[in-house]
């Protein structure tokens, strides 16, 4: 073989031979999770529209409900906005929690997960990283909706500072609640199925709640449903916080459902995730 070595052939050979020596210890779980979180943030950077996708519906509802029904429901649009906005914040973040599952399913269906899984690193890393990035996503979408509300005239009685504990509580709720969608994402074939099924869960949860109206005028059976709806419990706790009168009992009650969901669907997700496909 007197043929001259081709440039790419030589380059490939050199690339392997020049591979840096890597410490036998693979990166630790925390650093793996942070790296995957960085990946998720890069995706938001390249496609910032994914943040706007999830706030379009809440903003539309805010504008529509406030100006169309606000006067009739609460006497004035201003009074209704004061009532509605904390609920809309919750709705925004609950909607956003679908995204972890949606992106997880997208990754799997694209095959990039095969590479991740063939790496000798802490295997739940991609999920942990996605959840870390979700904190950013929840906070960003919450802030966007809050700013829109403020521009429309919303003023939290507890002062603007109250939005910080409110966002923290909503993050905690959404991180627990999101496990339903990660488990769902690992059980169905396509990302759009995740979305469709998620809407079937989210629509009744957000409408049969106290987000839009005071349940006092609803029939008794519906009041019973609304009063145990985890979304209602969260909205009540958030309204207290935004009003400057946080209630420890209400906050604990709000965290009960996401805690249970995480306790059940967390292990289910991990089981589905580790199960070889």
């Amino acid at each position: 073989m007197s043929e001259m070595t081709k440039p790419l052939e030589q380059a490939a050979q050199d690339a392997v031979l020049s591979a840096p020596a890597i410490a036998p210890r693979p990166p630790r779980p925390v650093s793996v999770s942070l790296t995957y979180a960085w990946r998720a943030l890069l995706k938001i950077k390249h496609m910032p529209e994914q943040l706007f996708d999830v706030v379009v519906t809440p903003i539309m509802f805010t504008v529509m409900f406030t100006y169309l029904f606000g006067g009739a429901l609460a006497g004035s649009t201003d009074a209704y906005l004061q009532f509605l906005l904390p609920g809309i914040l919750v709705q925004t973040i609950v909607f956003t929690s679908v995204y972890t599952g949606f992106t997880l399913n997208t990754d799997i269906s694209k095959g990039v997960f095969d590479r991740f899984r063939s790496l000798p690193v802490w295997s739940p890393g991609p999920i942990a990283g996605a959840m870390l990035a979700d904190v950013f996503r929840f906070t960003a979408s919450g802030v966007i909706v809050f700013i829109i509300g403020t521009l429309m005239g919303y003023r939290p009685e507890g002062g603007f500072i109250a939005v910080i504990p409110a966002l923290m509580l909503m993050n905690a709720f959404a991180l627990g609640f999101g496990w339903i969608f990660t488990a769902l994402a690992l059980s169905v074939r396509t990302p759009s199925t995740v979305m469709t099924l998620a809407w079937l869960v989210l629509m009744p949860l957000t409408f049969a709640s106290n987000i839009y109206v005071d349940p006092a005028t609803m029939p008794g059976w519906l009041q019973a449903v609304v009063s145990v709806n985890p979304v209602s419990l969260l909205v009540s706790a958030i309204r207290d916080i935004m009003a400057g009168t946080p209630d420890a009992g209400a906050i604990l009650l709000a965290l009960l459902a996401p805690g249970l969901i995480a306790a059940v669907f967390g292990p289910v997700t991990m089981w589905l995730y580790r199960r070889e496909r």
Partner: protein
């Protein structure tokens, strides 16, 4: 002392009733390029996914680099790299970000990770595209990025699952050059392919799989001895002379003369190029005009026909041999 790169015994994976891999015995020595040749749905990808610890077998056993694929997956993952069938790059990220991500996950820190990323992009001619999202890459660029991502560390064993399926001939040649370079560096490579020509070009040893089983195995020369050296295809100026041409070819060559899809074309197996040339001379002497001819490696269809007496499953058979007839196309 060192264990073989791959050793499997009766390795099987059934999905319900479907026997994707149905008892495969394989041994791959270190330092060689081993090709698994077969049509779509033959079980190639399932086999690779089991060996790369992504899928549990339902029967048999396998050791990769001396480690059991079920009990020592983590050890294996440390030593192998996988380039999956569909380029497993993150399309939303740029080429640079893709490699930086995997460098960090491989344990490189800060500037080390950046240096390795830049080095690999340069090696594979992707520096100019580094800041573009991978979804805007051509198929060939994506493949190169994908292979680069497998080389952040130095793998002892590299799996390439259909590395050139869907690539144009130029990109395919580039991937072949890369694979040869990797082999020259001492990396053991197991590649799957639908093209006999690819296996012939790259691999020391070839296993032909069908319906999850190995149906033939050997070096490229051994396989070709079974299958026939190549296929001479002639295109007649006029279909009327087909009978005459067929008779002349039958007289001159050992192989059976087969009709091709086109009424004015004929295919015949030839043991070596000289025999083919002599047959062309005889046609010319008989005054049979040709619009063209080609002498190509047998396509996968023909390999299968020779080995099993039937073409591969109709659903995949049409595409598989299409790219093989590029060897010596010439017009008269």
């Amino acid at each position: 002392m060192t264990a073989p790169a791959i050793e499997t015994t009766g390795l099987a994976r059934h999905f319900g009733d479907k026997r994707a891999v149905d008892g495969i015995d394989l041994d791959v020595r270190r330092g060689e390029i081993f090709a698994v040749l077969g049509p779509n749905g033959a079980g190639k990808t399932t086999l690779v996914r089991m060996l790369a610890t992504l899928l549990r077998p339902t029967g048999g056993s396998a050791r990769v680099l001396g480690h059991d694929i079920e009990r020592e997956a983590r050890e294996i993952r440390r030593k192998i790299s996988l380039t999956g069938q569909f380029a497993s790059v993150d399309e939303d990220l740029t080429g640079y970000e893709n490699l930086l991500l995997l460098s960090r996950l491989s344990g490189l820190k800060g500037s080390e990770a950046k240096d390795r990323t830049m080095g690999l992009l340069a090696a594979f001619d992707l520096s100019d595209a580094a800041a573009r999202q991978a979804k805007d890459y051509s198929g060939g660029m994506r493949r190169k990025l994908d292979i680069a991502a497998s080389l952040i560390r130095r793998p002892e064993l590299l799996f390439l699952d259909e590395p050139t399926t869907g690539l144009d001939p130029r990109s395919r040649n580039q991937v072949w050059d890369i694979v040869r370079g990797l082999a020259a560096s001492g990396t053991t490579i197991l590649l799957t392919t639908q093209y006999l020509e690819e296996a012939d070009q790259l691999a020391g040893e070839i296993a032909v799989v069908d319906h999850g089983r190995i149906i033939a195995r050997g070096t490229s020369a051994e396989l070709k001895a079974k299958v026939g050296g190549g296929v001479l295809q002639i295109h007649l100026t006029s279909a009327e002379r087909r009978e005459d041409a067929s008779r002349i070819l039958s007289d001159m060559l050992v192989g059976e003369v087969r009709a091709s899809g086109n009424a004015a074309s004929l295919n015949v197996d030839v043991a070596d190029p000289a025999a083919g040339l002599a047959a062309l001379g005889a046609l010319s002497a008989a005054g049979i005009a040709l619009t063209g001819y080609s002498l190509s490696q047998p396509s996968l269809d023909e390999v299968f026909f020779a080995l099993t007496g039937r073409p591969p499953e109709p659903e995949n058979g049409q595409e598989s041999g299409k790219d093989d007839a590029t060897d010596s196309e010439a017009a008269l």
